[in-house]
Symmetry: D2
Subunit: 424 residues, 4 copies
């Protein structure tokens, strides 16, 4: 009657000596990493202070002033000059680029100044869009859109999420594209389209349903839609806990019989899911590394507050369970860091498809736990923690938002759970 | 060596037959309760829609339009006419008023429309301020400030929290008032002063330190400061997760050698803590009942979303652990409701002082658990949950804020824990 | 686009003035309640110490010594003499008995000495079995089994759970009874049959499948099986975390072509579910009240330990987050107590069927939270907490077991969730 | 007024390219690792089945039968012959041995059969005791005790924890040793002394207070006490949730004027803490790796149960939130594994002292989270989960016990928190 215990073979119990467990940054990337840190410290940090100052008096919240753009351009020119430009991008000929593990270490640094990524032309969603164009774009598509994106002259958006369906199940996508003559006619609604409010945003990649009768994973396509195409209607910015994030915005869009040339289709009809594989893995890892940067910052703020405020005759950090909260935050951060590094390494070693379980684990784990850490930091700050005097409130909103972006936690747990149940 | 187990006598294990366990609303209050519900449904609900509509096009975010004020006034007149006016207030002669338990049931209803309380002249912090003036005000103070407050002609603020100290420990209060001749000269800073931005706000009750050398609980006083007193500087609104709550605002104030007549002192020098006892117990209970109203609304929204959206071939409510989340939310809500009713009853039967452990329990329990329920409702809504299309984001912010207001959770747990350790 | 919020009508938002919110014990039960407390203190407590002492040197773990039985009998005689006997039982003629709410208060007291219930002939599963016989038994069944049970001369068991199927879904019951001539022939296996190891246990009520082709809720029957029936094989005691609970035991039984007369069927073929309704509601409430008694004891022990041990120069209760843990335990206990009282009252006022949501809520809530409180008490005791020097280890095991008994937590949450989703 | 955010330099943000992030097993240890796995599979697994079978009919629970000892000896001889013997031990001359990281990988395998460690003479507490004797023992001490331990002829115990004080604060140690003539006279009580009940246990290392007037960290000493020394009184086995773990036992001991020669002192008077540094780091890491092995087993059992039982028309693994529970368990296990590997590597690279923060993190993190995973596995098994039919109940008890052993969680969080607060 005793339970017959037969241990399963898991993909997690790999050979302990193998490369997958080596989480070091590559030696050859170290100079780039140091260069990026130096550039942020010396160029981006002062530039961003200036940029904010110049924006303080502007009238139109949904634009940048010429002075702002000039300051930003100068920093971009400097980055380009120093070779800190587009370094996220795989080499066109060889397909080789920065390894995910190496980029993960760099992403933590990029997260430390909100303008750092853009200055080095490495900001989302442009990175994903450029990578897609690089890998699957036609020569003409590259000439028209990839070139100015690589030069940092325009910006772009990625339109997937829809307001009227549970788009966490991509089969639900309801925006349609129908071929009429030589043009695709697009109709539907999208929302939370980050960056579509930026006056410099010129092109969108839009997820549409083209083949409703094909098998579920062959119904979707991705297509290029210039933002000034007639019929593209920007209905307004979506808020995140009351923020509209002007002037970049998370926009709500409607496509009203919006026509684009047949050639704007990416890769081919019904291949939208294939393209998603290219972009989502790395994007999720980068989100997670940036989030860990935020968790670290929240812990730093918690400690600083805990050591500078007093109540009931003690420093707050020494009151009640606060020291244990601080210790557990540190432990969570280190555990999250190792998991993200491992997921990045798994992508490098096993490929995006095999590594998807690792990616889903960190995508479900990191934002939720970081929300908790930020919330505890807020609590240790009292009302100041949710005020505009502290960055914690905005950090919380950003990270809370991540628990839906690129798939809600629940969908990622489902991916992990299904795999676990299918292991022999 | 066996542990000698000696059960303690607790104040919680009271005689099971006694009144404290009767959580029914009084028969005599039932008509008022029904009247309030009807008034909200028939008068406040349509008025508030009109009020919002009239405010949409206004230029100055920090004012109301005359049209808005007229609509509101009409509803207030109707309430007064029907006798739904100031019903929170104890009778001046007898000290008798609505019991806390009865008011708790009504507070749930008031919470269902954000304008309901004001329409019936029962909104915070005016209620607390009026109660204080009624109980401890001099005849002149009552004539000058209580009268127009009771008539709903002006509004008021309560200034306790300070930005530069951990004011959860009230001994830390650093705003000073010094008697110079016949005037109190006030200096210091306060923040998160709700309602101080309202153009109709005319008077503040300010917590100050007058007797730094007295024993800790005798150092503070509460004093009346008209908001137009020279030296009162409104530095700006504090944000709550990016919201400024214009036009009422949670203001940041500075007192610069601000002079008020000697007669503005309430009750007497060094009696600030005594006054706090009057106002804080009921205020906390009302907060908690309103919060339960929000938890119920979050659960309703969760259920509605869960039954109307589909993913992976199922209604969301039936996916994964969602049904259990819904069930546990219901259970938490009912547990919270009973605890708040019990705390209210304890105040009625035992008095505010004896009941303070119950009040601290619910003040620490209710906002934290409600935050969790709202957060789960948000997650079930996807990105819409944090957008301006759903009330959930704003509800989260309000309830999160409550975890500091009137003492952070940690201080309330400390009160409960200390009592537990001191029981024989 | 704003979410149209339509509040649902819930069965929880009942009229606030109604009886359901009166959680006081009935005046007429108060003398019984006081009498029970006095009897436990004066008679049961010393008797149980004596009983344990007499058992220390016994050879056969699966029996009681004649001396033990004599001591117990004396206490039972005294209880009977004082009228503290079978008071759980509804009146045969009127169907009236103690209200669930009143019994709930008494159950807390009964829980304080593990022998208290038996001494007053109120111990599980005899109470449930007697109630079933009283309500649905034939005259002959009552004469043969109810009479000696009421007299405290024999004990009984209730056999529902099976080892080979998920019996939380009662449709899975696989023990069969087939009518062959004038006899039911029973085959199958049952486990965790509490009390079936007691040498005084003479009769079992067994849940069997008699009508596999009927609709799911009409397939089961309950039948009386004397424990000495040929074919009843006791395979051994089931352990709970290594305990076998000798001499009463949670037995593992097999029925091998076990024959009982046709007349042993209770109520009628296919009416097994109906009978369950009679017994399970009150049984679950009693479990929960006894569990709250254990949570209180765990908190008492936590406080005593916290105030008598020192480390790092402080009493343990004042170290780190311990005071908050203690405060939160108190708050949970009071919330659980109110919920159980409300569920008991709901059974009294609404009937078992309508009240089942309340019962499921407390059955899922109380054991899980009490496990956590006991676990925290263990942690505050160090290794002593899990040793035989402290009652905490055994308490943990008992309460952990309750998270499956009478339906696992998950099934109860499902009941609550389904109801929530079906409310208009 | 904006918060000035100055990131702290942390010891956690080390150079990303450095060795500390390389968590691979050493190439040179791979053959040993494979050998150990093969030996467990081919020799230990069948031997342990035989050993259990031989023990089934034994009369004295506190002994082994000669047949049992013969079977075990045969396996030990085989291990010695194959060179799988004492491999935990550093080389006497060079101080070099297996790196902690390498041993961590092997410890997971050793955890898979409860007799594996002993068969290869690598079982606790002998490993720690041998390491201490090797490092600090005199020639005579080594000859007398280390030699037979290394040969696997005797076993040993380590006596630190005391029943009457909070010994998590080592300054509280109350067992005394006083030098009287040429002998140390020892008095006091110890409990939870694992293995002291084993008939083969001959020697104990005992933590005593020798210098009560010295600074706190110089008051303790460690001393060798043969278990047959007059005055050593074994009072009985301590239980863990009702288990006594015969015949090895966690014993309760009393030292009554127990005399040992002056030469039995280890390293020197007042140097007890120094010795602790030698043994505790690796011991804690080994505990944690074994615990992860248990978490994996619990997850395997959860999956197997989930895929073989059905209720409500579905496999249990697909009911409610179960798939998410399974996914989160996998994620926790992988996070714990990486943290333990990192802590082991930190010990190798930074030394035990610098790595202590990492060790405290995993010691506080791993047992608590594993308890939760085992508890969830129990819940998915229904009552079988806590019965003797499943290993889960015993696994829970062992891991729960670990939350006190070698310092309770709270003390480890305190170590981590203090370090965090002291970082610049």
């Amino acid at each position: 009657m005793k339970h017959a215990y037969i241990p399963r073979t898991t993909t997690y119990n790999l050979n302990p000596g193998e490369e997958l467990n080596d989480l070091r940054m590559s030696d050859e990337v170290r100079p780039l990493y140091e260069h990026v840190k130096k550039f942020i410290r010396e160029t981006v940090d002062p530039m961003s202070v200036e940029f904010m100052r110049l924006g303080e008096s502007k009238k139109d919240r949904w634009s940048f002033t010429p002075e702002q753009l000039a300051v930003l351009q100068k920093a971009k020119d400097k980055a380009k000059e120093e070779g800190l430009w587009n370094f996220f991008l795989p080499d066109a000929e060889t397909g080789e680029g920065l390894k995910n593990l190496d980029y993960a270490y760099i992403a933590v640094e990029l997260a430390k100044n909100p303008m750092a990524s853009e200055t080095m032309n490495c900001s989302a969603p442009d990175t994903g869009n450029m990578e897609v164009l690089e890998r699957v774009g036609t020569k003409a598509q590259k000439e028209k859109w990839l070139k100015p994106l690589l030069a940092g002259e325009i910006r772009s958006a990625y339109a997937m999420t829809e307001p009227n369906v549970a788009s966490s199940d991509a089969k639900n996508i309801s925006t349609t594209a129908k071929l009429v003559g030589d043009e695709w006619v697009i109709n539907g609604e999208k929302y939370y389209i980050s960056g579509a409010g930026d006056p410099r945003c010129k092109i969108m990649i839009v997820m549409v349903k083209t083949n409703p009768d094909a098998p579920p994973s062959k119904q979707q396509s991705q297509i290029l839609v210039p933002i000034d195409t007639p019929g593209v209607e920007i209905l307004g910015p979506m808020h995140v806990f009351g923020h509209d994030h002007a002037p970049r915005g998370h926009m709500h869009l409607r496509f009203n019989n919006c026509r684009v040339p047949k050639e704007n289709m990416l890769l081919g009809e019904g291949r939208g899911f294939e393209i998603s594989q290219v972009r989502l893995g790395p994007g999720r890892i980068h989100h997670c590394m940036r989030t860990i940067g935020k968790a670290e910052k929240a812990l730093d703020l918690m400690v600083q507050r805990g050591l500078t405020r007093e109540a009931f005759g003690k420093k707050i950090a020494h009151l009640g369970g606060n020291m244990q909260i601080i210790a557990q935050a540190r432990c969570e951060i280190e555990a999250m860091r190792l998991m993200v590094l491992k997921a990045a390494k798994a992508m490098d070693v096993l490929g995006n498809k095999e590594a998807r379980i690792w990616v889903s684990m960190v995508k479900a784990m990191v934002p939720e736990r970081t929300c908790k850490i930020i919330d505890q930091a807020i609590q240790m700050h009292g009302a100041t923690g949710i005020s505009h005097w502290s960055p914690l409130g905005e950090m919380y909103q950003d990270v809370r938002h991540l628990r839906f972006a690129d798939g809600p936690d629940e969908v990622h747990w489902m991916v992990v759970g299904r795999h676990e149940l299918s292991m022999p």
